[in-house]
């Protein structure tokens, strides 16, 4: 029994999944005398079987990790006997092979969910679903093969080591346990709009029904991606201990690019649903978003981009993914180039309307996306073309993204106040007047408290976004006959927009953050931002697989104690590595953040290096992210029959 679901079973299940995915990919496209063949109705079954096989493989890897089976290379390299149980489980996706397995498991689950969609014997819809399942199957087959051939998580090691090499202590953190699954679920979730866009292009028509069918998927994927990115940034804030939350690292950008194009897709799909317009653009965004997700994975794993996220880079692996990418993205874009010109929009719209506001929004988001893409790919391409190396960092991204965000924020306030079809300037102004006044009032504190003019302007605009979305909500509630049910979309939108405002306020607050590095004796007082920081004591504590040195800091304002911080330094034995455990005390107004560094001895005297940060409004960044994701999920029409309504 012990060895029942062992690595070999997992390996077998992975190979089986590969074959099943291939069946799922081919069956819907088989034709017999112009009609779908006998195998076609079996497609959902293949999708289910494929998902189950992958889950079995994943379970086998998890069992191997739990059993400390160091004959599996992946486990020997990333686990150890002394590793806490929780991290033995989460450590599965903390490395290249395991994370690819997680990726394909999620992809398999996505196809299984798609096969659930009830099509009610509607011809167009069931054809759409079949083709989408086929596309999903082909993509899955490619990535299953990638996992099996180039990054097999079940590869064996002989002779079997007595103990594993251990996991990077930086990854032994609950935040990082959830971050990859969420992020991958977001990335992978965009495969469904992608597959449906291809199905629609094959069909040659992109209807309102298509938009209704796809929109919940976009919303869920977007919300998960938002959560994943927010968690990742929070992790870098409190684990890395650099005091920053976003470093414009290529891997971070690789998640931001699909997020931006996904946000654009989220908005343009509304226009398709409401007004049967913007079809080509929406199809392109659906294709682009998943393509960006894929390319991000490729760039990170192939080692082309120089990043702090170090996966074991391997150019052979890179060649495999590049071939896959060429097939998936190249194929999709070729189909787009061939079929998209025949998609015609049914209606046009006036400049002052909700549609044009949404168009403006997608344009700004896509420009932002292009800017981030350029900044990320510039260094390798310049090195390739001109032969000299350079790096693109914060100064470039700050000076290019902020000027684009400002008009986007202004438009975000106005858009929800505009009606569909055509609006009048006068009514809009009248409706936005109170928000405008409140925003003007917000100028004074913003420009007083924030030393940076640009940050202050952004903060004011964030307030504008929040006020105007609340106003738009009130207006909608007054207009709607039923207070909650019909306007769930509106509730979600308002919440998501407020989330953007809150997150931007947090970012602006962080621009006024201060920090200092001191060498402090026991009992010594330091002052930062009008706060008094006293190092009270330093003690040693043993942990499960590390030894910790914990400092106690007392922070007080005008003699009143407000917080106690316990920054620590953990010395891990396996692998031998020292990690500083950041102490953060969050208030609504900001974070107190302390890092304990090394120890200096001068004669009899011992000094402890401390880095103290005061980060105003820092928690708002992640709070905003969560609100955004919540808004996205809220706007999602769960529980309602999605496919009801007449096909146009």
């Amino acid at each position: 029994m012990m060895d029942f679901f062992g690595p070999e079973e997992g390996h077998y299940a992975l190979a089986l999944a590969c074959v099943l995915a291939l069946f799922q990919g081919i069956a819907p496209f088989l034709k017999r005398q112009g009609r779908p063949s006998f195998f076609s109705p079996l497609t959902p079954g293949f999708a289910w079987a494929h998902a189950l096989a992958l889950l079995l493989a994943f379970m086998c890897l998890m069992l191997a990790a739990l059993r400390d089976d160091f004959s599996v290379q992946n486990i020997a390299e990333n686990s150890a006997l002394a590793k806490p149980l929780f991290y033995k489980i989460t450590g599965i996706w903390g490395n290249h092979e395991g994370s690819i397995l997680l990726w394909i498991v999620l992809l398999g689950l996505c196809s299984a969910c798609v096969s659930f969609i009830h099509t009610r014997h509607q011809n167009t819809l069931s054809r759409l679903k079949r083709h989408a399942l086929g596309v999903l199957g082909l993509i899955s087959a490619g990535f299953d093969l990638f996992c099996l051939l180039t990054s097999n998580p079940f590869a064996r090691l002989f002779p079997m080591p007595a103990d594993g090499m251990g996991m990077n202590p930086l990854l032994q953190d609950p935040g990082l346990a959830v971050h990859p699954p969420l992020l991958y679920a977001g990335y992978v979730g965009f495969v469904v709009p992608f597959a449906f866009a291809i199905a629609a292009l094959i069909d040659g028509q992109l209807t309102r029904l298509w938009a209704t069918l796809v929109r919940p998927w976009v919303l869920v994927a977007w919300a998960l991606l938002t959560c994943g990115i927010a968690l990742g940034s929070w992790w870098s804030y409190y684990v890395l201990g650099w005091g920053g939350y976003w470093f414009w690292d290529p891997v971070e950008n690789a998640s931001l690019i699909p997020w931006l194009s996904g946000t654009a897709l989220l908005h343009s799909i509304l226009v398709v649903e409401k007004r049967q317009s913007l079809r080509i653009w929406t199809a392109l965004l659906a294709l682009a978003t998943f393509s960006f997700s894929l390319s991000g994975t490729f760039l990170v794993r192939s080692g082309i981009l120089n990043s702090v996220h170090s996966f074991a880079n391997d150019p052979t692996r890179g060649v495999f993914i590049l071939t896959l990418l060429a097939l998936v993205v190249g194929g999709a874009l070729t189909l787009f180039a061939w079929r998209a010109p025949s998609l015609h929009d049914e209606s046009s719209f006036t400049p002052l309307s909700r549609e044009s506001a949404l168009v403006l929004n997608t344009l700004f988001l896509c420009t932002l996306c292009a800017v981030v893409l350029t900044g990320t790919l510039y260094p390798p391409f310049i090195q390739l073309l001109l032969g000299h190396t350079l790096s693109v960092g914060k100064p470039f991204f700050d000076s290019t993204t902020i000027p684009l965000t400002i008009p986007l924020l202004i438009a975000m306030g106005i858009g929800p106040a505009l009606p569909w079809l055509h609006g009048s300037l006068r009514t809009t102004c009248k409706r936005l007047y109170p928000a405008f006044l409140c925003t003007c009032a917000a100028c004074i504190p913003a420009f007083v408290f924030l030393p940076d003019r640009m940050a202050a302007l952004c903060a004011v605009l964030a307030v504008w976004v929040i006020y105007s979305s609340v106003l738009a909500l009130f207006h909608q509630l007054r207009v709607a006959t039923h207070p909650f049910r019909p306007s769930r979309k509106i509730w979600g939108m308002t919440l998501a927009h407020i989330g953007v405002g809150v997150a931007i306020l947090g970012l602006c607050g962080m621009s006024a953050a201060h920090h200092t590095i001191v060498a402090s004796r026991l009992g010594e007082h330091q002052s930062l931002d009008g706060l008094d920081w006293q190092l009270v004591s330093v003690t040693d504590h043993p942990g499960p697989n590390y030894d910790a040195r914990v400092a106690e800091l007392r922070v007080s304002r005008h003699g009143h104690p407000i917080a106690q911080l316990h920054p620590a330094l953990r010395v891990f034995s396996h692998p031998h590595q020292t990690i500083s455990q950041v102490a953060i005390r969050s208030f609504l107004t900001g974070d107190l953040y302390a890092v304990l560094g090394s120890t200096e001895h001068e004669g009899q005297e011992t000094r402890y290096i401390l880095r103290l940060h005061h980060n105003p409004l820092a928690p708002w960044i992640w709070l905003g992210g969560l609100i955004m994701a919540g808004g996205g999920l809220m706007a999602c029409p769960f529980g309602r029959k999605r496919t009801q309504g007449t096909p146009s």
Binding site: G303, L305, L325, L384
Partner: protein, 187 residues
């Protein structure tokens, strides 16, 4: 099927993606042959990079001038530029070698991310082989030079030609096998 503007526009994404894909393919194939290293720092070489002028260390015997781009390019003798810091242990072991080189080769030092008083005390304690010492307090000059750590040494020939960049502490072997052959025309 007539080719309209719509068709051309719809083909644009494919063209862009194909260009990127070809670029990536080229990068990957040169990575495999070792011609392309994404982690390479300053592969251009050849010339002295532009860097902010570095102020001299106060209270230091013998080296009163700081280091600027122009003074480095306008020399008519070879210069060995050495990045060091008082907090760097290999720099301590390297200093006697530098002192032995000093009579035959001009040495300029850059104190990387160091406090002036500590840097001066370090040289006072371990010997001062440098003709000029500049302070790179925030490490911005080191970025321009593509420094990955301390100590690193760079040989600059007259006219500002960078001919040699050694990314570790100097040793006897490195000096005799790598550095001195480059200097033969000038000795």
């Amino acid at each position: 099927m007539t080719l309209t503007r719509r068709h051309i526009l719809a083909a644009l994404p494919l063209t862009g993606a194909a260009a990127l894909g070809l670029g990536f393919q080229h990068i990957l194939s040169s990575m495999r042959t070792g011609q392309f290293d994404p982690r390479a720092i300053r592969t251009s070489g050849g010339t002295v990079p532009q860097f902010p002028p570095l102020s001299p260390l106060p209270g230091l015997q013998g080296a009163i001038e700081g280091i600027e781009c122009t003074s480095l390019t306008q020399q008519n003798k070879p210069i060995l530029l050495n990045f060091w810091a008082s907090w760097c242990i290999p720099c301590v072991t390297e200093l006697p070698l530098l002192s032995a080189l000093a009579p035959s080769l001009t040495l300029w030092g850059i104190a990387y991310k160091d406090r002036p008083e500590r840097a001066s005390a370090f040289l006072a304690r371990n010997g001062q082989p440098f003709e000029r010492v500049g302070q790179d307090k925030d490490g911005s000059a080191a970025i321009e030079w593509g420094i990955t750590g301390v100590p690193e040494s760079i040989l600059i020939l007259p006219g500002g030609h960078v001919v040699w960049h050694h990314r570790a502490a100097l040793t006897h072997e490195v000096i005799t096998h790598d550095l001195l052959p480059l200097l033969r025309p000038f000795l």
